[in-house]
């Protein structure tokens, strides 16, 4: 079960990476492109943390801490960009 789960997570992460690189080539404006790229990378960050680092099995405190960090970081970047 876990075997397939890890592989599915890896495939999703690779797909999001390639999609993010493709977004740069689109003519949709800096703000929109940045928002899409940051959203993809937020999902990737959480994918690595929750599945590969097995944070999904951890205490809610650690899950919340990672979610709060990611939200604040990408929020700040998005506001400034």
């Amino acid at each position: 079960m876990k075997n397939h789960l890890y592989f599915k997570v890896l495939l999703s992460l690779l797909t999001l990476t390639i999609l993010a690189a493709l977004v740069v080539t689109l003519d949709i404006g800096l703000k929109t492109a940045s928002a899409i790229i940051l959203l993809f990378f937020m999902l990737k960050f959480l994918g690595v943390a929750f599945y590969f680092m097995e944070l999904k099995t951890a205490h809610v405190f650690w899950k919340s801490a990672v979610l709060i960090f990611v939200s604040i970081f990408f929020g700040i970047i998005l506001i400034v960009v």
Partner: protein, 193 residues
């Protein structure tokens, strides 16, 4: 097969251990603040940042992301095999994990060589000051991570390995931290400006 388990639901024992997670958060905040500063500086010199970003090879950054993600996948598989007491499989996945790390360093070295040859050193402009400081600092983390993984691998090779799951998980968490830091660096340095 016997399964080795740790109580990761306990607030004091996240997977990898509380001390390592404190380090992970400190590292993420350090890189996060530096990246936020980079974005703030880019507002003063948007043209410089845009033209400098175009001088980077996005394909290299993309390939390195793939190397680190694949490496993280093998690390997770290695921990899973270790928990199932399958040390042979765990060693095999650990070797693939390290291969990903070495490939990352190889490509990064080539990228650095190209930049130095083109005269794009740390003092070239503000963008490249951030580029060199942040990526070199990350490379140091990858090097330290590889040293840790090599020592874990050496322990696994012993006939009577006394490697504890907690230590193995801590090493894995450090390696994944390198992934996480790169996931912050790649979009901001290679894609956004």
């Amino acid at each position: 097969m016997d399964l080795v388990k740790t109580d990761s639901k306990n607030i004091y024992y996240p997977p990898g251990g509380i001390l390592l997670w404190i380090i992970i958060f400190l590292e993420l905040f350090t890189f996060g603040m530096a990246l936020a500063a980079m974005v703030v500086y880019s507002k003063d010199e948007p043209e410089v940042f845009h033209s400098s970003r175009l001088l980077l090879n996005t394909a290299f950054g993309l390939t390195n992301t793939i190397f680190l993600l694949a490496s993280g996948f093998f690390m997770a598989k290695s921990v899973e095999s270790f928990k199932a007491n399958n040390h042979i499989k765990s060693s095999f996945y650990l070797k693939l994990t390290m291969l990903g790390g070495f490939l990352f360093l190889l490509l990064k070295s080539f990228e650095y060589y190209e930049k130095i040859e083109a005269g794009l050193s740390i003092g070239y402009n503000t963008f490249f000051s951030f580029y060199w400081m942040l990526t070199l600092f990350h490379v140091i983390h990858v090097l330290v991570g590889l040293v840790i993984l090599i020592s874990v691998y050496a322990s696994l090779q012993k006939k009577k390995s006394n490697l504890a799951l907690e230590d193995f998980e801590a090493s894995a968490a450090f390696w994944h931290m390198c992934d996480l830091i790169w996931l912050l660096l790649f979009p901001l340095i290679y894609l956004i400006f």
